[in-house]
């Protein structure tokens, strides 16, 4: 029985030691006012539990020790005492009311997303995040960048194993940023512990949350709601930067987006498309259809040697652009731009033994989308 006391001591030590660390034993204090409020609530209710635990378990172990049958203890026969019972009902109620007041205040603050200076749309997709800076014409997807070889153990695992992405969400510090959150397929949950933001993204509905980051830095989290096979491989990385740096970054992204848009109209070489297509395929498609296009039937059909796909380029384009209703294949018309769509279709039709020689031009895709 004594071992339980060691647990308690361990908790207490762990709790007091790890206040400053974010990835130790305890909840991180985080880098927003809300996150430190939540941390405060967490520690308060934790210590209340510790005190109640010490009193209740103390009384229990005292009784167990003091009134042992083997030491000849004689049992008393009382079996009720109304005023004591009323007392130990009333005290917890008072404690709970005391806890409810600050919790209510924090919650109201968390729900107040008014007066935001920047809106970011976060869309969950199996199994990546898409970020769109509303009104800025900047949007991109963010995929896990940990190589599969690290997961299978063929390569040494890096410091940020499973918590690293190709394109982090970049946010300015000291500015209230509102998140509008939704999903294209199943329910995901966008979570960054240091920001104390965890919100389900639900297909067909838009949730709101907000953040105002106090310190620049890189903050990592991951999807918190089971969303299918690669639920564990859907990290979130937020790069919080000074406001000027953010403005510069945003301007660069805008310019790059314009460049890309111009690329739609020119004629692309097959080699260019294949190169671009392979990177798109590995980032977006391979999580379901697998690295070699072998798929995982019946949920995810094979693309290599898929006769229907190879015989009908229009059918192929339709499925990629518009998705397959009632199945896991999403519509990529808004997720990928025409260049990426054309590249990935061209790549799929010319990889892993698929030798159609078909080249799909971005301009054709742009036309299809416009229809």
């Amino acid at each position: 029985m004594r071992s339980r006391w060691w647990w308690l001591i361990a908790i207490v030590l762990a709790a007091s030691e790890s206040q400053a660390q974010s990835n130790g034993w305890n909840m991180p204090v985080g880098v927003t006012d809300v996150s430190s409020d939540i941390y405060g609530l967490h520690m308060t209710i934790f210590w209340i539990c510790v005190v109640i635990g010490v009193v209740v378990f103390g009384a229990m172990f005292y009784s167990l020790f003091r009134y042992r049958h083997s030491k000849g203890a004689k049992a008393a026969h009382f079996h009720e005492h109304t005023s004591v019972e009323v007392l130990w009902t009333a005290i917890p109620i008072l404690i709970l009311v005391g806890m409810a007041v600050p919790a209510t205040a924090t919650l109201k603050n968390m729900y107040d997303s008014s007066n935001a200076e920047l809106d970011v749309m976060i869309t969950g997709q199996q199994w990546r995040w898409r970020y769109e800076y509303l009104g800025e014409d900047v949007a991109f997807t963010s995929n896990m960048s940990t190589p599969r070889a690290q997961i299978s153990g063929e390569e040494a695992r890096g410091e940020h194993y499973l918590l690293e992405v190709d394109e982090p969400l970049v946010l300015p510090i000291n500015r209230k940023v509102r998140f509008l959150m939704t999903s294209d397929d199943v329910i995901h949950s966008w979570w960054v512990p240091d920001l104390a933001v965890k919100q389900d993204t639900i297909p067909g509905f838009i949730n709101e949350n907000w953040v105002k980051i106090n310190e620049p830095g890189i903050y990592r989290g991951q999807c918190a709601e089971l969303c299918g096979i690669d639920h564990g491989f859907m990290p979130v990385v937020v790069h919080a930067v000074e406001e000027e740096e953010f403005e510069t970054w945003l301007a660069e992204r805008k310019e790059a987006a314009e460049q890309e848009a111009m690329g739609v109209d020119r004629e692309w070489e097959m080699a260019e498309l294949l190169e671009r297509g392979e990177s798109v395929y590995q980032a977006i498609c391979s999580s379901c259809h697998q690295a070699e296009g072998q798929g995982a039937p019946p949920a995810f059909p094979a693309l290599a040697n898929n006769e229907q796909l190879l015989s009908d380029v229009d059918w192929h384009l339709d499925k990629v652009i518009n998705g397959v209703s009632g199945a896991a294949m999403p519509a990529f018309r808004s997720t990928l731009n025409p260049v990426e769509l054309a590249a990935v279709v061209t790549y799929t039709r010319n990889a892993w033994g698929n030798e159609t020689g078909d080249v799909v031009q971005p301009s054709e895709v742009a036309e299809l989308i416009a229809q």
Partner: protein
């Protein structure tokens, strides 16, 4: 209210003693497998339930060990994520619906008639039917693992649309299996209510019933109230999958969040269905081994009823981060916090029962004491989870996993084991081997804490649930949990050994096997003959 006498069964054998009840009036039971297929005897059906539950406990446990083996260290070593998800899902489904619930029903079958002085359950044939539905349901459920596309892989909470539009083809079988299990539960609950309300010994009023009977009465009402909700929600899934409806599909005008409301309106009372009978068992054992009446019997009954009532008002605390309106968040936060009050009353009552008792530490008592301490720790983390703003950090992490495993493993399952050790002398006529039981206890308590305590830290540090692989900073916690899980799993073999040895022999137990025991089951011989209380006993009121 005048003391109401329950209707008495026709007194055909009014002069016979309980012990030789087998000999008259009953046709000789069929032999072999038919005997078990056709039995309508509450003791035999109780045994069937318990054996089924134990088998499923090990199957579900093996699934958990697959999960823990994969999580032993970072990286994917043993199983693919797809199979990992099937394992987490099946572990949850099997443990909830096939291990814990049938174990309590089995104990109810055995003990409720004995504790209220009834000759059998009120509806014996229905009783047979509700048991035999279970092997059908769970054979069907387990068979999905071998179907193309694999078994259910969307978690035991099967949130739509992952469980509808994006589900494997076997989901329809999963729905059917759950329907069958649900029918079994409802029929069992009806039977228990009918038995308790109609077949109590003359002179036994409701407020004279042992707490195990009381908690089961309330549990049975909960079951009848919420199993149809589960049936409704899985039928809606069935329609969405097979008949083109869009209850949960936003593209067709449906609402994925509606699924969660319906599921948790079933799911939260379900949590209490799995713990209230445990309260009843512990409330029988602690007074027995403290040799002192239970403190606050009336309060215990009232607190159980209050918990059952509140359980219908708190479901959305499982949904604090789905984007509920602020008012709803506050309502569910307040109502959830209030549950701590009657739960606290129970813990205080148990502790006060110990105070100034005369306490001995046989194995049923050890498991019950561990229940009180570890269930309370699970209650503490529950209280923390009730704080809605903090839940934004806790939700869907290993902190939640730690919380509900503390209330279910050293909570519900320890209580079941306590009950088994407590009543084995009555069932078999032999005491369980006490030394073996003590080893089982200490191994279990080390294993359970080693498995689940580090999960609190992993969750607080940021590890989400249901992931097959994890970042490096969670490695130490997972290593400990996995070692603990295998240790705990292996030590349950001692339990099986203890039960088998006890059935085969051991120290003979008298009718009243424990010095401090008071309830009616201790007035019949040990082992309890196949038919007991054919003549209703006269109930003498002890001071509760």
């Amino acid at each position: 209210m005048a003391p109401k006498l329950p209707p008495q069964p026709p007194l055909q054998h009014s002069s016979t003693a309980v012990a030789d009840g087998q000999s008259h009036g009953h046709a000789a039971p069929p032999k072999g497998i038919l005997r078990w297929l056709l039995t309508t005897n509450h003791k035999e059906i109780g045994s069937l339930y318990l054996i089924f539950s134990l088998t499923m406990f090990f199957i579900g446990g093996i699934f958990a060990l697959v999960v823990r083996a994969e999580l032993f260290q970072p990286g994917l070593q043993l199983v693919e994520p797809e199979f990992f998800n099937q394992m987490t899902t099946m572990h949850g489904l099997i443990m909830v619906f096939a291990a814990v619930m049938p174990a309590f029903t089995g104990l109810a079958n055995w003990m409720i008639p004995l504790q209220i002085g009834a000759p059998d359950m009120a509806l014996p044939r229905l009783n047979n039917f509700s048991f035999w539905l279970l092997p059908v349901a769970f054979t069907l459920l387990l068979s999905t693992l071998f179907m193309p596309g694999g078994g259910p892989n969307f978690g035991w909470t099967f949130y739509a649309p992952l469980s509808t539009t994006y589900a494997p083809p076997s989901t329809t079988f999963f729905i059917l299996a759950l329907h069958i299990a649900g029918i079994s539960s409802i029929l069992g609950a009806i039977n228990i209510i009918a038995t308790i309300l109609n077949m109590r010994a003359p002179g036994m009023r409701l407020m004279d019933m042992p707490l195990f009977v009381w908690t089961w009465l309330i549990t049975a009402f909960l079951l009848i109230a919420v199993m149809p909700v589960l049936a409704g929600v899985i039928t809606m899934m069935l329609m969405d999958i097979n008949f083109g409806t869009s209850f949960f599909d936003a593209a067709g005008g449906g609402d994925p969040v509606l699924f969660q409301h319906l599921f948790w309106f079933f799911g939260h009372p379900e949590v209490y269905i799995m713990i209230l009978p445990a309260f009843g068992i512990v409330s029988a054992i602690i007074p027995t081994f403290a040799r002192k009446p239970l403190f606050g019997y009336a309060s215990m009954v009232y607190a159980t009823a209050a918990i059952a009532l509140l359980s219908f008002l708190v479901w959305a605390h499982h949904m604090f981060i789905v984007g509920l309106p602020l008012v709803a968040e506050l309502f569910f936060m307040y109502s959830t916090m209030l549950i701590a009050v009657p739960t606290g009353v129970k813990v205080f009552n148990w502790v006060t029962t110990l105070f100034r008792g005369s306490i001995s530490f046989e194995s049923p008592m050890l498991f019950s004491l561990a229940f009180v301490v570890l269930f309370t720790i699970g209650g503490f983390s529950g209280l923390m989870l009730a704080i809605a703003p903090a839940d934004f950090q806790y939700h869907d992490t290993y902190f939640v996993v730690a919380h509900f495993h503390y209330v279910l493993v050293p909570g519900a399952i320890f209580a079941i084991m306590a009950g088994v050790y407590y009543w084995l002398p009555k069932w078999t006529g032999h005491y369980p081997n006490e030394r073996l039981a003590q080893w089982h206890f200490w191994f279990s308590i080390i294993g359970v804490n080693l498995t689940f305590f580090p999960m609190h830290f992993a969750g607080l540090a940021g590890m989400p649930r249901r992931i097959p692989d994890y970042a490096l900073q969670f490695a130490d916690f997972n290593l400990l949990s996995s070692i603990g899980a295998f240790f705990f799993g292996a030590s349950q073999l001692l339990f099986v050994l203890g039960v088998i040895l006890c059935i085969r022999g051991g120290k003979k137990a008298p009718a009243k096997a424990w010095e401090g025991a008071v309830d009616l089951e201790w007035t019949v011989p040990s082992p309890a003959p196949l038919h007991t209380f054919e003549t209703p006993p006269v109930f003498h009121r002890t001071s509760h």
